[in-house]
């Protein structure tokens, strides 16, 4: 009974996986700080200080006029208006943006490499928007945060590049996140490479990529967030746009531009977002790459159940057919099939599995993207055990009176097998299916652990979760052994397998004539 409930639970999970697991288990990384415990774990004292994953600036995308109103805008010479044009090929689609028109007073000889000014590395700040948020979580923690802007450049006259800078200012000082010292971080639109009218760009600054020298004032701090968000209070995020008024193709260092009266920029800004990838996330936390463990768990159930059930049914089907033939036909057929069965029975399964998997993997064309090969190998290895059981049952039934009577009346071979032998054997078949599925689920997990399983790289299974989680689990006493990552798949494999075994036992006690006779 318990077995059925457990199986039903997992089957439902597998079937509804796409709804339950919103995040792609393999590709959606960095949803939160890697190795963070589940969101509900904050009820436990040691996790109470963890920061949740959220966006401190609500309504960060400019869907409505009011959304723009929440920001404080400033600049030289600009106008803004709301338009309902938004990036349509993003998910989720935005339905509004702010149209910015600015005319710029450029400066000559902006860049002097001996006196870099991190606030104005390349050009004039012609526009900025800022907004405040409260930070009242536990301070000094390590977490990831990032700022994004989604924008589309429309026209740039006498402007070659636009640089975006994100500045966080607050009780701990001013921090420029995308300063000149870290060119790799500098989000920008280069008018040479981003042809105008080519579409929306999403430019990002990510704290995980920041090292000490990138952000002035950070020094050798190992965790940007701990240093920046070191006090509670109100912080302000400011996004600044800097224009480099050079000839297209010129470099910011050349200063070879002629400022003119007509130096202007027009662009659409659809979203400015500041998000904190907190220390606690979701139903089951995150793994080492910041992926959602709950999604991995849910999608993994699909694979385990698919492989287990199809291999189980397949192996038992094959074994039953051969067992029926061998048991009923008797004579030379029986001899041959029995010897064959014994031979395959003797082969050690795991080494054979490894070797077959290994050989198939030598040919990449065969092995990529398919786990049907695994099912195939499982079936090949395990049909003999079932054959033996079925065969002995067939031998018993064959000698019964009604079979002899049927034969006497003229029933053909197939008729007898179908009508008399098969129904008496089906009970055993059901119980064997259940027991085999249990074994296959475990075997599949073992293969994943040995990294010789054959499946596409976009598949996530419980075995892979365990494999990836184990190195972190056994070495890290920080993060309390990442229990949220490796316990669920392990216990799921065990309980699913156990559930099938229980069902198999139950069916066995109903159908197995030896046990029934007692």
């Amino acid at each position: 009974m318990i077995g059925f409930i457990i199986i039903a639970f997992f089957v439902l999970m597998a079937v509804f996986a796409p709804e339950l697991g919103q995040n792609n288990p393999v590709t959606a990384t960095d949803l939160a700080t890697p190795l963070s415990p589940p969101a509900w774990a904050v009820i436990f004292p040691q996790y109470r200080d963890l920061i949740p994953t959220y966006s401190p600036l609500p309504s960060a995308d400019f869907n409505t006029k009011a959304a723009i109103g929440a920001w404080t805008l400033s600049g030289q010479n600009y106008t803004t208006s709301f338009t309902s044009v938004g990036p349509v090929d993003y998910f989720p689609a935005y339905t509004g943006s702010m149209l910015l028109n600015a005319s710029i007073t450029p400066r000559l000889s902006i860049w002097n490499s001996s006196t870099p000014n991190p606030q104005l590395p390349y050009g004039e700040v012609f526009f900025s928007m800022s907004r405040s948020f409260k930070f009242d979580h536990a301070v000094g923690q390590a977490f990831n945060f990032g700022a994004d802007v989604t924008e589309e450049p429309l026209t740039m006259v006498n402007v070659s590049d636009i640089y975006f800078d994100f500045i966080i200012s607050g009780p701990t000082g001013n921090w420029s996140l995308a300063s000149v010292n870290g060119p790799a971080l500098q989000p920008q639109i280069d008018v040479n490479t981003n042809a105008l009218g080519q579409g929306w760009n999403q430019l990002t600054v990510d704290s995980a990529l920041i090292t000490g020298t990138d952000v002035p004032g950070l020094g050798n701090a190992t965790s940007p967030s701990a240093a920046i968000f070191n006090k509670t209070g109100t912080y302000t995020l400011t996004m600044e746009l800097q224009a480099v008024p050079c000839q297209p193709g010129g470099s910011p260092y050349s200063g070879s531009c002629v400022p003119g009266t007509n130096t202007s920029v027009s662009m659409l800004i659809s979203e400015v977002d500041f998000h904190i990838d907190g220390g606690a996330y979701g139903l089951l936390g995150t793994d080492s790459l910041g992926r959602d463990v709950w999604s991995e768990f849910v999608w993994g159930s699909q694979v385990s159940l698919e492989i287990g059930i199809s291999a189980g049914v397949g192996a038992v089907a094959l074994g039953t057919i051969i067992g029926l033939a061998s048991g009923y036909l008797g004579g030379i057929w029986d001899e041959i099939l029995s010897r064959g069965t014994d031979f395959v029975l003797v082969l050690p399964f795991l080494p054979l599995l490894i070797v077959l998997s290994f050989i198939i993997q030598q040919n990449p064309a065969l092995s990529a993207n398919v786990y049907e090969w695994i099912i195939f190998i499982f079936i090949i290895i395990s049909w003999p055990a079932i054959t033996k059981i079925i065969r002995s049952q067939v031998l018993t039934v064959k000698e019964r009176q009604y079979v002899e009577a049927s034969r006497a009346v003229g029933g053909g071979t197939w008729h007898i097998i179908r009508k008399h032998i098969l129904p008496n054997v089906m009970g055993l078949v059901y119980s064997q299916v259940a027991l085999n599925v249990a074994g296959f689920i475990l075997l599949e997990a073992a293969l994943d652990f040995l990294a010789i399983s054959i499946h596409s790289i976009f598949t996530m299974t419980w075995g892979i979760m365990l494999t990836q989680a184990l190195p972190f689990a056994v070495t890290a006493s920080n993060n309390s052994y990442v229990w949220w990552w490796f316990l669920p798949p392990g216990i799921a494999i065990a309980s699913l397998s156990l559930a099938f075994v229980l069902v198999g036992f139950a069916l066995d006690s109903i159908f197995n004539p030896r046990l029934r006779a007692r």
């Binding site: 399964f349 070797v355 030598q362 040919n363 997990a445 365990l466 392990g490």
Partner: protein, 348 residues
């Protein structure tokens, strides 16, 4: 039939099976890779799949390098690669039977070109030590628990041990191993140090001691993993046996319950367990692969795995043959022992 005839029949059967295994092994390692991975005339991969006989002079060493880097026909034909398949098969059979397995193509034991046989000799004792001891332990405990549980059937001890062991049985072995490693870290504060790191540069008695100490965790894991199956089987067999007629007779005679159970029922119930033990001996290497990989235990199982990772066909070939040979011999031994213990078998 008589016991002697029974043994003779089983022996003939064994020899036939060994031969079939050799053929199958040949097919698996020398023919199948060609079919699967050598479409057309690309011989780079195919060359490595072939059995490497010892070069004149004994050591494979430089000759091995010659073999892989140079593919001119003259060099290769010296080693028999382009010869017709029957000739290769003949060489192969001779090699398997004389245990001349050739040389590793990659550095499995850290030494490229070392002979497969020496790798096996190095690794086998460790596997036997770990798996043998845990097999014995799990059987002893399993039998003991099984008998007691069957005796007190339906009561607390039976139900609880049934539940616990069923669950333990369903846990993946590597998960169990990891949990144990973790609990060692949590309880004692020191991480589990694998064999390689903890026995570096130690020798003599200290070495033996360290080996045993490192073996403790894998030993416990394997014992716990194997316990479930033994317990369940023993319990089921005991329950079956206890409902036999002669037990009812013994009880009717007034014998004390203890004597009934342990003297009469147990002696007959132990037969399937003995055969299960002998068969398990043969199959321990299957389970060894996972456990040795988890704990980095330098045994045959880890050798198989390393061979897969390093694409070392001669090693894999030899290992597969050895394992199957072990399984066959153990099943043969099991049959003989069973025939010896149970007179009904040899008489039918």
């Amino acid at each position: 039939m008589g016991f002697g005839r029974y043994v003779a029949r089983r022996t003939v059967y064994l020899v036939i099976l060994i031969f079939v295994i050799i053929v199958f092994n040949f097919f698996l390692f020398q023919v199948l890779p060609f079919i699967v991975s050598c479409p057309g005339e690309t011989f780079n991969r195919c060359v490595e799949t072939l059995y490497v006989p010892p070069a004149p002079g004994g050591k494979a060493g430089t000759n091995l390098t010659l073999l892989i880097q140079h593919e001119d026909n003259l060099t290769l034909s010296t080693y028999g690669f382009y010869q017709p398949i029957l000739v290769r098969f003949g060489l192969y059979v001779k090699a398997m039977l004389t245990f001349q397995f050739g040389y590793n193509t990659h550095g499995v034991s850290g030494i490229s070109g070392s002979s497969v046989l020496s790798t096996i000799e190095e690794r086998a004792p460790f596997t036997i030590l770990l798996l043998g001891s845990s097999l014995i332990a799990s059987f002893l405990i399993g039998i003991g628990l099984g008998v007691v549980a069957a005796a007190k059937r339906g009561r607390v001890l039976d139900v609880s041990s049934l539940a616990v062991l069923l669950f333990l049985n369903s846990l993946p072995v590597f998960f169990l191993g990891a949990m144990l490693e973790l609990s060692q870290l949590a309880l004692t504060g020191t991480a589990y140090s694998s064999f390689g790191s903890s026995t570096f540069l130690i020798s003599g008695l200290a070495y033996d001691e360290q080996v045993l100490r490192t073996m403790f965790l894998p030993f416990v894991t394997l014992t716990l993993a194997g316990l479930g199956g033994v317990f369940l089987t023993q319990r089921a067999v005991m329950i079956d046996t206890v409902s036999e007629d002669y037990v009812m007779m013994a009880r009717a005679k007034g014998l004390p319950e203890r004597s009934v159970l342990y003297k009469h029922a147990f002696r007959n119930a132990v037969l399937p367990i003995v055969t299960a033990f002998a068969i398990s001996l043969g199959f321990i290497l299957s389970g060894a692969v996972i456990t040795e990989t988890v704990f980095d235990w330098p045994g045959l199982g880890l050798a198989i795995f390393e061979g897969v990772v390093a694409v070392d066909f001669p090693l894999e070939q030899a290992m597969f043959f050895i394992i199957t040979l072990m399984v066959l011999v153990c099943i043969f031994a099991a049959d003989i022992i069973y025939g010896f213990l149970d007179p009904r078998v040899s008489l039918t």
